[in-house]
């Protein structure tokens, strides 16, 4: 996290990751044949396989993989609560790096990557593309500082449901320090659309342990509210409530078949990327609905 340039930081992470797994991502192309289907009227005659017709005198339509390998949308929380960090960098920086890493990683695979940053409302939206310069735009959008006053996960999810018609991968990165009232509804809508959803909850180690020593006036970075807190007396209750919150989120995800990944900002990003991929593999093995990124898993595991 000491590299200031987000793109460079993401590249370092991804290249280190590849080195680690001894596989090169610079092979192949995802425009592969999938199946033959008998020609029916109104089919596009361009996809008739004339060689098969020549051999068997029957019309077969040749079906290929989609034009793009994968449509991945990164949903990054840019609220002020993400602007907290006790390790010299903030949760927002960690989350941006994670998003950039994923974007770079997928970009290298030729997948289309889109971005949606949000706080209490949607701030930036980049449609999923794979073209030159898109990654740079994406990095610039990720580098914008967190300025939102609150966190509303519902709004971007709702928006994604509206925008993204094709099934794809949705990676939601946030601290989720907000009420989870309508989260389940929005996540279920997303899952119902056939998207593969990955929820990453990023929390600071201080938030997870609350190991402050002296009592102080604690100020909420989002609302500005100030409370006198004595950590010795408040820690127990805080940890209990935090655990309840996380458990609630995890239970919701599990209920909807969504991957949940909790990350502390002191965890190295390479391991986080590894966790991401492992989680995806497990997810794929659980559900055959999402067999689409065959190229990715095949290459990754190859």
């Amino acid at each position: 996290m000491n590299i200031r340039n987000l793109e460079l930081r993401a590249r370092v992470v991804v290249e280190g990751f590849w080195n680690g797994i001894h596989r090169s991502p610079y092979h192949g192309f995802s425009a592969e044949f999938t199946e033959y289907r008998q020609y029916t009227p109104d089919d596009d005659p361009r996809y008739l396989d004339w060689k098969v017709f020549a051999r068997s005198d029957r019309f077969f339509v040749k079906k290929f993989e989609d034009e793009t390998n994968l449509r991945c949308y990164l949903l990054s929380d840019h609220s002020r609560s993400m602007d907290y960090g006790s390790l010299g960098y903030t949760k927002a920086a960690y989350a941006s790096t994670l998003a950039a890493t994923l974007a770079y990683f997928l970009y290298l695979q030729g997948d289309a990557i889109g971005l949606l940053t949000f706080d209490e409302q949607i701030r930036e939206y980049l449609p999923a593309r794979h073209r030159t310069g898109h990654l740079r735009h994406l990095m610039l959008a990720l580098e914008k500082p967190a300025a939102g006053q609150a966190t509303d996960v519902g709004a971007p999810l709702k928006r994604i449901v509206e925008i993204v018609r094709k099934r794809g991968l949705i990676v939601l990165i946030s601290d989720f320090l907000a009420p989870l009232d309508r989260l389940e509804q929005n996540l279920s809508a997303l899952a119902a659309c056939g998207h593969e959803v990955l929820v990453v909850q990023v929390l600071d180690p201080a938030e997870l342990s609350f190991d402050f020593k002296d009592a102080a006036m604690f100020q909420d970075v989002e609302s500005g509210r100030v409370l006198f807190i004595d950590p010795r007396s408040a820690r127990r209750e805080y940890l209990r409530k935090l655990e309840e919150h996380r458990e609630g989120l995890r239970a919701t995800c599990q209920k909807l078949g969504i991957s949940w990944q909790g990350l502390a900002t002191n965890r190295p990003l390479e391991l986080a990327l590894f966790d991401f991929l492992r989680e995806r593999m497990q997810q794929r093995s659980k559900s055959q609905r999402f067999a689409r990124p065959r190229h990715m898993t095949g290459k990754a595991t190859a």
């Binding site: 609560s81 949760k91 604690f218 409370l227 408040a234």
Partner: protein
């Protein structure tokens, strides 16, 4: 230092607040940002566990400010600066304590002593106090000069000791007299300025029987007030006894009785009493007492039969609540026996002769028995009888020897009444009067003669001086004997006939006198014996002939007993025996006995006579008299309700404190001090806060 509103000193408790605030952990300066407070609840402030107090000077300044503020609001003032200018001269207080018989009731005298003590406690060193008791008269116990002469610290004790040595007597309550004398004493001693005259502190039971009549018409001196402490008796009801005197014409044949009046006070709860003779050893009644029912506020008179065989001298009442007036003393009055010698030639049974009427003129009463001894003109009068008689009545001519003896009696101081009823008495008159020029002429008026000119200044006719009784014209004289009074040396004509001739002539003879009535009283001569004037005239002649009057034997406590009534001054010295058994010689020159201080029987030796002294009946009227009665008589009464003196004193003290505090205004200094301390505290606190913030700002930068 004193405080006007000392409750504000409770503000000192607020000193604990700065200490408390100092000990509460101050964390507001340290701020920490956190991602979200949604899982956090505010912690309550708690005391720091550090025992060390930081910023001790600041703490002291804040405590000092609170102390100054509390002092200021308590409005302090310095008491030693207070000087009572009004009381610096002191007051003159004359304590007038009732020591009459009614104060002998159960609790009154101790209450009076307590009252005096309480008054003495309130006096200031500048005051002058005198103590007087009173019953019939004012008795000085402790004068103003004794007060001022005594050491300051011992004055009250000396005065109280004087009062403790005395006790209530048996006298009646002459409150009016006592008040007048006390007021005049204060007015004389106080000078011309009314404000310096002083106050009379009257301590009394103020009973109904207090005599206030002297106050009527008395002009009360200005500047003298009377503060009355009315003592409340525990028992309000009282019954009393009073002797009722017999009339002179009481039937001597009936059994001897003593009449007593039993009076019950209004509002009394007891109405049934026992009355009877008692012994002097207080062993109770002798015989069976009489039970009498007397309703409250009424009186009954009852006759107690006196048994001459028993020497009983007191009557006891039982059944009421107060004992002091339940005994009265009574002795039967001594019967005065007098002798009149009649010398005549008639029989006492002949209703036409003078002796018949003379005998009937002197009736026997319980107090006086007049014996008329008749002798014929030729008889020799027995010497003892002559010695015992003081009046000689002549109605017939005497022999020359008898005439000389009769004149000797007159010369010795006795009275000889000559009623001329015959012309042959001329010689006897000449012998008696020792004159040869005397000539009697019988006069028989054509119709009748009347008494015309009487000397009512003479003791014989003095009792007729009233116009109702001075009409003698209804007495007709048929016959009289004219004589020339000018022929008689020193003769005084006491009555004339309407013709101008003398009717009654008084001729002094030696120590005695000779009375010549120029007519007789028998019907042959006149209607005098048949008239209503005859009996009183004869008694007047008898009494004016040196016969002692019936002695009164009932006196009240404090009465003056005239000794002259008992014995002649030239007799031997007398001794008076008091009821308590003590004796006291009386000087020859003493004419009055005044020491009738206690009720009882007083015995006088040589001659042996007794008289009783009883309590004044007015003392038994113990119902309380309203204080308004004194005000009505012009006495400026200073009202003294029970709690008022304390309240007044408290109010006065508070007022003085307010005045003093207003003058000194020490609270201003304390408030100013508070402001100074607060300013310094503010500066110091600001300076301390700046120093504390410096490292924070540096670290923030």
């Amino acid at each position: 230092m004193s405080f006007l509103t000392p409750l504000f000193l409770l503000g000192f408790l607020a000193v604990g607040l700065p200490v408390l605030f100092h000990l509460i952990r101050r964390t507001t300066r340290e701020r920490k940002t956190f991602s979200s407070l949604m899982f956090l609840l505010p912690s309550p402030p708690r005391l720091t566990q550090r025992s060390r107090i930081e910023h001790l000077l600041l703490l002291l300044l804040r405590c000092l400010a609170i102390c100054c503020l509390a002092f200021g609001f308590a409005r302090p003032f310095l008491k030693e600066a207070m000087a009572p200018p009004a009381d610096s001269n002191g007051k003159r207080i004359l304590l007038l304590v009732d020591a009459s018989a009614s104060m002998r009731r159960a609790n009154l005298w101790p209450d009076a002593l307590a009252k005096v003590d309480s008054i003495l406690r309130k006096t200031t060193p500048g005051d002058q106090v005198a103590l007087f008791t009173f019953d019939r008269q004012l008795n000085p116990l402790f004068g103003f000069d004794q007060w001022t002469g005594a050491p300051v610290g011992e004055r009250a004790a000396l005065l109280a000791r004087k009062l403790a040595e005395t006790s209530p007597g048996w006298g009646s309550t002459q409150l009016g007299n006592a008040l007048i004398q006390a007021a005049e004493m204060l007015a004389e001693a106080g000078g011309k300025t009314p404000s310096q005259r002083g106050r009379v502190e009257l301590i009394t039971d103020l009973q109904e029987g207090s005599h206030l009549e002297q106050l009527q018409g008395y002009e009360w001196p200005k500047g003298i007030e009377v503060a009355i402490d009315v003592l409340k008796p525990r028992a309000a009801s009282n019954a009393s006894l009073q002797l009722v005197s017999d009339s002179d014409d009481s039937d001597t044949k009936s059994a001897a009785t003593v009449r007593v009046r039993v009076t019950n006070t209004a509002g009394a709860k007891r109405e049934q009493f026992k009355i009877g003779w008692a012994r002097s050893d207080k062993s109770g009644f002798v015989g069976k007492p009489i039970e009498v029912y007397v309703p409250a506020g009424q009186s009954r008179i009852l006759a107690l039969p006196a048994d001459p065989a028993e020497s009983l001298d007191r009557i006891l009442l039982q059944g009421d609540e107060e004992e002091f007036d339940n005994v009265i003393f009574a002795i039967p009055p001594a019967t005065l026996r007098l002798n009149v010698i009649y010398v005549g030639a008639d029989s006492e049974t002949d209703p036409k002769r003078p002796l018949y009427f003379l005998k009937r003129a002197f009736q026997e009463t319980r107090h006086q028995v007049v014996g008329v001894t008749a002798h014929h003109s030729g008889e020799l009068l027995p010497a003892p009888e002559v010695q015992a008689s003081s009046l000689f009545v002549l109605t017939a001519a005497l022999s020359p020897e008898s005439t000389g003896a009769m004149r000797d009696q007159a010369t010795a101081g006795k009275t000889v009444l000559v009623a001329v009823s015959a012309i042959d008495m001329q010689q006897t008159l000449r012998g008696l009067l020792q004159t040869d020029n005397l000539k009697l002429d019988e006069v028989r008026p054509s119709n009748y003669a009347m008494l015309g000119d009487l000397d009512f200044r003479h003791p014989i006719f003095a009792s007729f001086a009233d116009p109702r009784f001075s009409d003698f014209t209804k007495i007709h004289f048929w016959k009289y004997y004219r004589l020339d009074p000018t022929a008689l040396t020193g003769a005084r004509v006491l009555a004339h006939f309407d013709s101008g001739d003398p009717a009654l002539i008084e001729i002094p003879t030696g120590k005695g006198r000779i009375l010549v009535l120029t007519s007789g009283w028998q019907p042959e001569c006149s209607q005098l014996a048949l008239s209503s004037k005859f009996v009183p005239m004869m008694y007047s002649i008898l009494e004016s002939s040196g016969v002692p009057a019936p002695l009164p034997v009932q006196y009240k406590v404090g009465d003056v007993v005239p000794l002259a009534a008992f014995a002649k001054s030239e007799q031997l010295a007398m001794t008076m025996q008091f009821p308590d058994g003590s004796q006291c010689p009386l000087g020859r020159d003493e004419t009055n006995f005044t020491r009738t201080d206690i009720p009882g029987i007083y015995a006088l030796s040589t001659p042996s006579r007794q008289f009783v002294v009883n309590l004044d009946p007015s003392e038994s009227r113990t119902a309380p008299l309203p204080v308004d009665e004194l005000e009505r008589l012009g006495v400026p009464v200073l009202q003294k309700p029970t709690d008022a003196p304390l309240q007044d004193a408290e109010r006065k003290r508070r007022f003085q404190n307010v005045e003093l505090e207003n003058r000194q205004k020490l609270w201003r200094w304390f408030i100013a001090g508070t402001l100074v301390v607060l300013l310094f505290e503010t500066w110091l606190a600001g300076r301390t806060a700046r120093r504390a913030l410096e490292p924070v700002s540096m670290s923030a930068g």
